[in-house]
Every structure is written in structure tokens, then in C-alpha cells.
């Protein structure tokens, strides 16, 4: 429907163009900004203004209009072009005058305007219009009749329904669908108003006639379940015995909505004789419905002949089960070895709710077979069952090992710091080794829940003094080894320096497995001073383990390299050096490289040294290419291990290909905004651009296998479309100086130096190395360079090279990491 030509007929000749300009200027302003008075707006809609001008006036009248504008709108209702926007206002107005205007216009309107008015009266559920609308059921225009049927369905008075009923008796087939729609709408309205009888009658009519569409009849059936609760159970039973999949599934899916005990009872009764598929559906539905009758029926289904139905019942009890169903579920465990069945029973026991459920579970565990008890105790942890600790303490003394082990395990998860005292008493009373490790683990776990890290060892330390047996005191040392911290360390160190040699060994082993690096100095001292070879080896292993763990958890500190240095300096034989090199190889630092390299000259440890050196070299190649080149050349030339030789050669080739490009970056992203293309994100500030925001940076590794290892592939590293990534690196400059950044990016890029945006190019396309040159003003000392790289079309990669201001090589800056000052080599 193209109305524009009609609209401009009202404006003759050349005036049309001027009017169009005026109309469109008016139209472009937001409605609320115009704030024209109702009087002005009424004048516009009453004038010869264009349809678009009147449309906009109507939008404003929807907000500012009073009954004063209604007469003008009533007139506009009769205008085929303006009628819709007049309804736009009047349909939404609660004023009685609006309804009167629509009703008054109904008899005078023709064609589409009339149909629109009928729709609006229907939408408003205007009962006063019913009489006039009923007359229109005999209109010659089928579209008028169809709209009237729908409107009468919405109005849903008795008068309207009667008229529709009468019309239905002789209605042509063309109206069947809209009659069904109107009937369902009316019935829904009667149902909402509590007139179940009328709703049920309408539903009955629709269901009973095959002339109505199947989905309408199905909708009527479901509606009737609520409208005729006295017949609902008969209907449901009939439906679930039907061979019609859709009907059966539909009805069963609605069982959960029914709040009628009688219906549930009938279903429960029908359950055993229904088909297998129906039983499975019904069990789930009964669980949704809830209630005692449903629960009892589901519990009975635990004995169903069909395994699928039994499984459905077990699962359903997770929803509908309560304290009373716990014994039945535990009984299933007692009688079944099938994994699916046991898992379903355990899961339902884990999630079932209701008052007393935890108490019932505790009682059932106490009475359960020993073989099931451990599984059941595990549920207490998952449920965080209150009151379980007392029983668990008791079960740590059970006859069977599985129960004792499960009880200690559960205590480790459920017990609170205040429970440590009885747990420690049980530990003190233990004899022999059985269960001791479980108890130690549990005590460690609970101690570590103490909020103040400094106080975590206190309860155990307090108990230590009262422990008399050597086994118990040894246990405490093991527990302290799991807790860590300064107080525990002091206590363990005291034992280490004490007279009891047995306990000394335990204390040392506890230090070897210490959870924090606080034990390193003590272990180093033992290593350096021990006369006993075993103790020395244990101390060395502990040191290397703790240093490796520290390396893995955060950036290698100078301290760890220094400690490795001390260990190496004191190493007495090749075995010790090998152990140290094993740890050192995991350190990604130039210091580690310097420490490991001299071992290449020691033929006894040459193989281990090569492994360590190549591993360190690979991890620091991007940051310190010159140093790495030297050592890699040596390995490539001298190593007899072909594998090492190849790795060294590859590494050299990679460094050659860096060509002064920056390959040491940390990366964050991808960041995106739903509905926004990549190039629309250039000015969208994500976390890395905002001060104080948490950003998960990760190392971006150059692809050594690539011909262009300096071209950094974000699509591979991060993936994503229409998004951005941030890459950050440090630049250390010994002086303030000007420099040039040569970049190429696919697609757009933004450059930040020391937090300040200095360049952007939001164009899409492939990354061309050096295509863009950005002047940098480096300050003395540390600088931070951050790039924002945008993915908009096809690939996503970038490269960046730092040069002197004139484009020549820039020798006196160090790039990478956080831009720290390079460490100068000490004079030997």
C-alpha cells in the first residue's frame, strides 16, 4: 500500500515540494522535544496538512491529548489515510469519550477504516459496542465480518457469545479459523473472570466439532481441564489412554499445573496400567504436580517392571521426594548394583528437599549396609547437611575402613574450626597407621578454613603440647606441613632442632611438602649444613619443588634465581646438579639462563644442562634475543643431542626473523558489544583502557614456525569476530627520546603510550608491515605501550617495530615485560 501519492494530492502544484520539506523537518524532531500544545495539534489534524504532519501530531496527542482532541480524531477516523493514526491515539485512551468516538464512527466508516475501528473496539474490549458489532456479522464485506468475529471474541459478553453461536450454525467455512480463535479468546476471558461454566461450554463446542483446526481443539481441551475441574480427571484418563501422541503428551505436560488432588489421585491410580511410554511421562508429570498422592505413586513406581520407568521414578523423587522417601531410595541402593540406578538414587538423595530430609538421611546412613554407607556419607558433603558433623565424628570409629575413610573425608569438607578440638582428640587417641592419613588430611583442610591465615595453625599447635604418643606428634607435624605459615614453620623448625631424631625426620619431610615458599631458607640451610646424605637430598628436593612451584605460580623473582645459585654453588655431585638444573629449566628469566649456561662445560651434567638451557632460551627469546642467540649458537654447534641441536637451530632462525619487531606482548580480549560491528568499537572503552579495572592479561607467544614470526595472529590466539584485543608491552629507555613505531594491523588499530591515546586508524584490510608510522616521545625509564587491535573483516593480526626517529635501528632501548631497566652483569 503506497499512500504517498495520495497524500500529496491535497497540496496542489509546486507547493507540494515545499510542504514535503516542512513535513519531513517536523517529522525529524523527537516527539517529546516539540512540546506543542494540544490546541496546536488539534488545529493540525483538523487542517489540510499532509498525512505525515497529521501522523506526527497524533503521536504527540497520544501523550498530551485530553477529551478536547477526541472530536477531531473522530473525524479523522473516517479518513482512510488518517484513520490508523487516529486509532493510534483513541485505542490507547481510557477516556469514555474515546470509546464513544470509535462507536460513533463505526456506523459511518467504510472499507478499511471501518475494519480498523472494529479492531480497536475489540482490542479495547468495548462491551457497549457489542450490539453494533453483532449487526456487522451480516455485513457484505468478508473482511468486516472476520474482524467483527475476532472483536466479539475479545469483548466476550454473553450477548457477544450468543451472537457468535448463532452465526456459527450457518457460518461459511472461510470463518472457521477466526471463529475458533474468537471462541478460545472468549473462553480464556470467562476463565479469568471465574465463569468456569461458560468457559467450559465454549471449549466443549470447539473440541466437539472436527470443522475446527486441530490446534484450536487441542487448546480447547487444555482450557477445559481448568474450566471443568469436575470432569478433568475423566478427560485426562481418557487422554492418557489415547493413542494420539500429541494429545497424550500435551495433557501430561499440563498435569503439573493442576492443583487438584482428585485429578492427581486418578492419575496415580491410572499409572500402573498405562503404557510404558505414558508411565514414564506421567511419573515426571506427577513429580511436577507434587503432593502426597503423587509422591506415593512415584515411590510405588520404584517397583515398576520397566527399567526406564524405575529410572524415571528415581529421578522424579529428586523433585517430589522428601524425608519420607529417603528410606525407599536407600533401599534401592541396598538392592541394586547397576550404576545408572545407583547414580540416579544418589543424585535424588542429594537434591531432595523438605523439612527433616537431612535428619532422615543421617538416620538412614546409620541403619544402611556398610557397603552403601560410604556413598551415602558423600551425599552429606554435597548437601552440606547441618548436624552431620556429630555423626561423622562417630563414624570415624566405625568397624569398616570405607566408612571411616568416608567419614574423615566428609569431616574435611563439613567440619568448622570449632570442630577441630574433638577431631584432634580422636587423632590423639588413634593407634597405628590405619586411617591416620585420612585424619591428617581432614584436620589440614579444616584448619585452613580459619579466616585469619596467621591463626590457622593455632588449634593444632595447642593440641601438640598435650600429645603424648610419638605417632600423634608426627601426625601434627604432617598437618602443620599442610597448613604452612610462619607459626607452623617455627614449630616444625623447633622439632627439627630438637633431640628426637624420629620426629626430626618427620619434621623435615613436612618441610619438603610445605605449601608456601617460607620453608625455602630453612631447607637451604639444612642442605648446606647437613652431614646426613638423606637429609641433604630431601632438603634439596624440597627447595627445588618450592622454587618450581613459585615459578609456575607467578613471574620468576630474582630471589628464586639467587637461591638456585646458592644451591648450585654448594652442589657436591652431579646428581645434585641434575636436580637443580631440572628446576632451573622451568624458570623463564635471563638470570636462570646465565646460571645454567656454565654447566654446559661440566661433562657430568652436560645433557641436563642442555635441556635446561634450551628450555630457558626458548622462553626468553622474545625478551632477550641477543643473549639467547649466543647460547643457542653454542648449542647448535656443540651439542651431540640431535633434538637439542634442532631446537637451537630453529630458535636462531626464529630470532633472525624477529627483525627488530616487538614480539614480547601480553594480551587481553576479545571484547565485543552485541549488535556492534568491529569498526564501531574503536571508541568503545573496554577494561584495559579504564583505570582500576581487572584485566586478565596473558602472554602472547610468537609463532616460531611461521615465516613471519613477528606477525602476531590474534585470530589464533583469541578468536572472535567483530571484537577488539589489547596488547601491552614495556619499553625501557635510558633517556627521554623521540622514536618511531612502525605498525601494520588487520584491521583497525589504536596506539596508547603511557596511558595516552596517540594514534588511531579504523580502516579495515590486511596488515602491511610498516604501513603506518607513529611518532613516539619516550620518557626516561619505563614506558608502557598498548595497542588496541580491531577485528572487523576477515583476518585479525598485527606487527609492530620500534625504530629511531629517522627510521634507523634503535639500539639503546629494551622492549618487553614491564619495561624494566636491564640488569647489568656484575664484574667477576
Amino acid at each position: 500500500m503506497n499512500r504517498i501519492s495520495d497524500r500529496f494530492r491535497v497540496i496542489p502544484g509546486a507547493l507540494a515540494f515545499v510542504a514535503l520539506v516542512i513535513v519531513l523537518c517536523l517529522a525529524a524532531r523527537p516527539v517529546e522535544a516539540q512540546q506543542r500544545s494540544e490546541k496546536e495539534l488539534i488545529e493540525i489534524i483538523s487542517s489540510d496538512a499532509s498525512s505525515l504532519a497529521k501522523d506526527q501530531a497524533c503521536r504527540e496527542l497520544q501523550i498530551v491529548g485530553t477529551k478536547a482532541c477526541v472530536p477531531a480524531l473522530e473525524k479523522q477516523l473516517l479518513d482512510q489515510d488518517g484513520s490508523h493514526m487516529a486509532r493510534y491515539v483513541l485505542e490507547s485512551m481510557a477516556l469514555p469519550e474515546a470509546g464513544q468516538a470509535l462507536r460513533a464512527a463505526l456506523s459511518r466508516a467504510q472499507g478499511p477504516a471501518k475494519i480498523g475501528i472494529i479492531n480497536s473496539l475489540g482490542f479495547r474490549r468495548d462491551a457497549q459496542a457489542a450490539g453494533a458489532l453483532i449487526g456487522l456479522l451480516r455485513d457484505n464485506d468478508p473482511k468486516v465480518v472476520e474482524a467483527t468475529i475476532a472483536a466479539l471474541g475479545r469483548i466476550a459478553t454473553m450477548e457477544a457469545i450468543d451472537a457468535l453461536g448463532e452465526f456459527n450454525e450457518t457460518a461459511p467455512a472461510a470463518y472457521t479459523a477466526v471463529l475458533a480463535e474468537a471462541g478460545l479468546t472468549a473462553a480464556q476471558e470467562f476463565l479469568a473472570q471465574g465463569d468456569l461454566e461458560t468457559a467450559a461450554a465454549i471449549y466443549g463446542v470447539i473440541m466437539s466439532s472436527e470443522k475446527f483446526p486441530a490446534h484450536a481443539r487441542l487448546g480447547a481441551f487444555v482450557g477445559a481441564l481448568k474450566a471443568a475441574p469436575d470432569q478433568a480427571s475423566d478427560m485426562i484418563v481418557a487422554a492418557i489412554n489415547s493413542e494420539d501422541d500429541v494429545l497424550r503428551s500435551t495433557v501430561i505436560a499440563h498435569v503439573g499445573d493442576l492443583d487438584d488432588d482428585a485429578v492427581i489421585a486418578r492419575l496415580a491410580e491410572a499409572l500402573p496400567t498405562a503404557s510404558t511410554e505414558t508411565r514414564i511421562q506421567l511419573i515426571t508429570a506427577l513429580a511436577d504436580a507434587g503432593g502426597a498422592a503423587a509422591r506415593a505413586a512415584v515411590v510405588r513406581s520404584l517397583q515398576d517392571a520397566d527399567a526406564g520407568a524405575r529410572l524415571a521414578a528415581l529421578t522424579a523423587l529428586g523433585t517430589i521426594g522428601n524425608a519420607s522417601t529417603v528410606p525407599a531410595l536407600v533401599d534401592v541402593l541396598a538392592k541394586s548394583d547397576e550404576r545408572d540406578i545407583r547414580n540416579a538414587a544418589l543424585l535424588s538423595l542429594e537434591v531432595l528437599q523438605g523439612e527433616g530430609a537431612d535428619a532422615a538421611l543421617l538416620k538412614a546412613i546409620a541403619e544402611a549396609n556398610a557397603s552403601d554407607r560410604a556413598d551415602l556419607i558423600g551425599l552429606l558433603v554435597a548437601r552440606k547437611s547441618p548436624g552431620a558433623v556429630e555423626a561423622l565424628l562417630k563414624w570415624t570409629q566405625a568397624q569398616d575402613t570405607d566408612t571411616r575413610e568416608a567419614a574423615w573425608k566428609a569431616l574435611g569438607r563439613l567440619a568448622q574450626p570449632e570442630d577441630l578440638r574433638p577431631m584432634l582428640r580422636l587423632l590423639a587417641a588413634m593407634t597405628g597407621e590405619a586411617g591416620r592419613a585420612d585424619a591428617e588430611r581432614a584436620l589440614t583442610q579444616v584448619s585452613r578454613t580459619i579466616a585469619d591465615p596467621e591463626g590457622q595453625a593455632d588449634p593444632v599447635l595447642q593440641a601438640f603440647g598435650a600429645m603424648t604418643s610419638k605417632e600423634s606428634r608426627a601426625s601434627v607435624l604432617n598437618i602443620l606441613g599442610g597448613i604452612g605459615g610462619e607459626k607452623a614453620l617455627q614449630a616444625v623448625t623447633r622439632v627439627l632442632n630438637g633431640a628426637d631424631t624420629d620426629l626430626q625426620d618427620v619434621a623435615l619431610r613436612s618441610l619438603v611438602s610445605w605449601p608456601d615458599s617460607g620453608a625455602v631458607p630453612v631447607l637451604l640451610e639444612i642442605y648446606q649444613g647437613a652431614t646426613n646424605a638423606t637429609r641433604r637430598t630431601l632438603a634439596l628436593r624440597g627447595c627445588v619443588r618450592l622454587l618450581s612451584a613459585a615459578t609456575a605460580s607467578d613471574a620468576p623473582s630474582m630471589n628464586s634465581v639467587r637461591t638456585y645459585g646458592a644451591l648450585m654453588a654448594d652442589a657436591k655431585d652431579a646428581e645434585e646438579k641434575k636436580l637443580i638444573l631440572g628446576g632451573l629449566g622451568q624458570s623463564a628469566s635471563l638470570g636462570a639462563l646465565r646460571l645454567a649456561t656454565p654447566c654446559l662445560d661440566d661433562s657430568d651434567v652436560r645433557a641436563e644442562a642442555e635441556l635446561a638451557v634450551i628450555a630457558i632460551a626458548q622462553s626468553v627469546a622474545a625478551v632477550s634475543p641477543t643473549a639467547v642467540q649466543a647460547v643457542a649458537r653454542r648449542l647448535a654447534e656443540e651439542s651431540t643431542n640431535e633434538n637439542i641441536k634442532k631446537q637451537a637451530t630453529d630458535l636462531l632462525a626464529t630470532i633472525e626473523r624477529f627483525e627488530d619487531y616487538i614480539v614480547s606482548w601480553r594480551l587481553a580480549g576479545p571484547y565485543s558489544r552485541e549488535g556492534r560491528a568491529g569498526n564501531q568499537l574503536v571508541d568503545e572503552s573496554f577494561a584495559p583502557e579504564k583505570a582500576g579495572e581487572d584485566v586478565a592479561w596473558k602472554i602472547l607467544n610468537a609463532n616460531a614456525a611461521s615465516e613471519r614470526p613477528w606477525m602476531l595472529d590474534l585470530a589464533q590466539a583469541l578468536g572472535g569476530d567483530n571484537c577488539v584485543a589489547y596488547a601491552v608491552t614495556g619499553i625501557y629507555s635510558p633517556r627521554a627520546q623521540k622514536a618511531q613505531l612502525e605498525i601494520g594491523a588487520d584491521d583497525g588499530i589504536k596506539v596508547f603510550l603511557n596511558g595516552e591515546e596517540i594514534y588511531q586508524n579504523n580502516s579495515a584490510g590486511p596488515a602491511v608491515p610498516g604501513e603506518e608510522k607513529v611518532a613516539l616521545q619516550l620518557r626516561e625509564g619505563r614506558n608502557q605501550l598498548m595497542l588496541k587491535v580491531i577485528q572487523h573483516t576477515a583476518g585479525w593480526e598485527f606487527c609492530a617495530r620500534l625504530r629511531a626517529e629517522d627510521g634507523s635501528k634503535l639500539d639503546d632501548v629494551r622492549v618487553g615485560g614491564r619495561g624494566m631497566r636491564p640488569r647489568t652483569r656484575r664484574n667477576p
Binding site: 525529524a28 517529546e32 448463532e166 487441542l218 487448546g219 501422541d245 494429545l247
Partner: protein, 428 residues
Amino acid sequence: MSELSDKRLDRRRFFKWSALGAGGVLAAPYVITSNALGANGGAPASERIVMGAIGIGGRGRYDMGAFMENDDVQMVAVAEVQGPRRKQAKEMVDAKYGNSDCQAYIDLRELLARTDIDAVLIATGDNWHSMAAILAARAGKDMYCEKPMSVVIGESRVLSDTMKKTNRIFQCGTQRRNVGNFVFAANLARSGKLGKIKTMHAEKAWETSDMSFEILPEEPQPSREEMEWDLWLGPAPWRPYNAKTYSRGYWSRHGDFSGSSICEWGSHTVDICQWANSADDTGPITYEQINAKGDVECVYANGAKLIIRKGLRFGSCPIRIEGEDGWVETGDSGVIETYPKSLLAERRFRGGYPADNHIREFLNCVKSRRQPVSHAETAHRSITACHAANICVRLGRPVTWNPEKEEFLDDAIANRLRTRAYRLPWRL
């Protein structure tokens, strides 16, 4: 004549349009047969779901691809008013099945008239979501409908009522109800682990909540094959053809065609907050604009606050829920942060959490006839909260909402903005 006897008389007259005798109104189930209720002569619904796709642009193609990944889906038709998109959609379906059987229609009504189609995917612009869904229900189809489900409150009210009365399976494209991290966050709140809910934050799509009502100048209209303009406008007020009008970046901020920033993401983020606050059948009762950017603070009857704003973390569509004992924040990046951190230890996706695939859940529901988690009433209530927030911003003053009656309290003007009269030939 008493009121009661009057009613009885009417009832007797009403029975005149019944084919039944005096033998009981509801003997009907016995006459409903498989043929009547099955898939209109097609394959049984339990085996294969025959589908059509309506309104297939970029998002629609994504959805359609995801549907066709399921072996029990057979896509047979597309309806799209834009020629190039229609062609692209048909080619996509034909390429999937290695034939040229996919029928391409301009007018969705032709697709909906096909009796072999069980269910439809609706991925039109927002302006069409409600009407297309209601038409599909009237035609007896189940449907997956993209969000946001309406442009005004009145539309989605009729939509939800229609789904109930025709017993259709309706799933809204609020797929975060089936995404692990959002489900986890909502369940933390629902299970009480955050304590009493104090404040929820739902991200909107753009910095401001502005909404345009402008009309662009007329441009020469392309052929119907290329762009069926009147059909694209659908129930919205008429305006002359202009190509910019139907670019997504434009119409998604226009009040005739969408609910702009608040509805664009609020349909997801407010939806998760509603869920978290166990408010799926209700909504906030007061709405107040809190800054010049059109952020809105809403308050529920249970005292929980909902702030619709920008600035949360973790990718698109993020939410944050704060209770008296802890908080959770998550978004599309999948990252979840909680306080206390120990809440994360309980993160697991088994034992009662919904399936992890929204579309698969829809297909399962078509077969089981159970309603999906993003069913019509929940989506209607969520988008109603978004519309109410928009009305508050548009009127520049606080508004109070009665969720039971679904009307603003003593506020005739705000109540007018709940609805929009549909342009012919469309009717709610």
C-alpha cells in the same frame, strides 16, 4: 428475571452453536483422533520437525544454521521481504540438504498456510516479533521467536495469552537461560546462597536510552521482489520508503520498530534478573530514571532493586546480583566472579540445571509438549519491565506499575503507551 436465570437462558442459546446433544459438554476427548491432532498428515512430531524460517537476515541465518544442525529438523521454507536475503536464506537451506527444494516466500502468511510445517523460526526485526508469533500460533505452528518479543507491552500480553489458548510451544530467543554461567548466577540467587537480594544490575545495549520517532525522506521504492516495503513496515505506522529505515543500526533505536537500548539487551539481562529474583510472573513496581544517560532504577515488591545501566564487566549482556550475603557477576565472556569466592566452588552443571542448548530444548519441548524455560509468559514479563523503564525515560518522570493488573497506577498517560493500534491488515 434474575441475573442467574438470565445467564442460563444465554447459555441455552449459546448451545445452539454446539453440535452436542444433552449428553455432556465434554465428551469431546473421545472424538479427538490422531489424524486431527497429529502433524497435519506429515511425519509424526516425535520423529521429525518440519520447519520454516521467517525474517532471515544475519541473526536468522545463524539461528537457522543452528536448527539445521539437529538431525530431527527438516527446514523446508523461508519467508523474507528483502530479495537478497531471501535468496541467501534459500541457498543456505538448499546447500545443507543438497537440493533446491526450499521454498522462498515474500509473505510469511504463505509460509504459515502450509500444512506440512510444524514449527517456525521467527527472526524478523523486533517490530514483527509479536505479530509473526501470533499469526504462527493462529496457524497452529510452534515457534522459536527472537528477542525482544514486543515493541509495546500490549503486544506481548496478547502473544502470551495466544500461546496459552492455542497450546503452542513458544520459546523466546533469551538463550542465556540455557547458558551455564547465567544459569549458575541465577540459581545462586534463587537458592538463597546470596542471602536476601538487595540490588541487581542489568546492562543495556548502548550508553543512552534514547529512542527516535523520526520519519526519513522518501526515496524511490524498489520492486516488490527486492523489498516488499509495506510488509516490512507490518503493524507499524506507515511512512515513505527509505533504505536507511531498514538498516538494523537505525531501526533498533527507533520507537516504532523496537525498544532501543533497554530492550535490546534488557530482554536478556533483565530477564536473568527477573529469574534470579523468582519474579517470572511479575515485575518491578516502581521505575525512576537516575541520570541523564537514561539509566533506570526499578524496585520490586520484595524490596529488591534492579538497575538498568551500562558499565558492568565480562563481555556483552552482563549482569550483577547483590544479596545480603554475597554477590555474583557474569557476562558473555563466561567469566563468573562471586563474593565470597567459595560460592564458585559449588559451580557445577548437573542435577537439575537445564540443558545447555537453547534450540535443542525447544525441539525437545515441541515433542514433549512441555513449555521451555524461556516460555512466553516469562519473556513477556521481562520485556514488560524493559518497556516500563522506557516509558519512565520517555515521559521523564517516575512511574508505578501494578504487575497483577498490568497497568500503571493512576497514570493515564503512561497507560496509553502500553499499546499501539496495529495498522491494517494486521490485528492483535
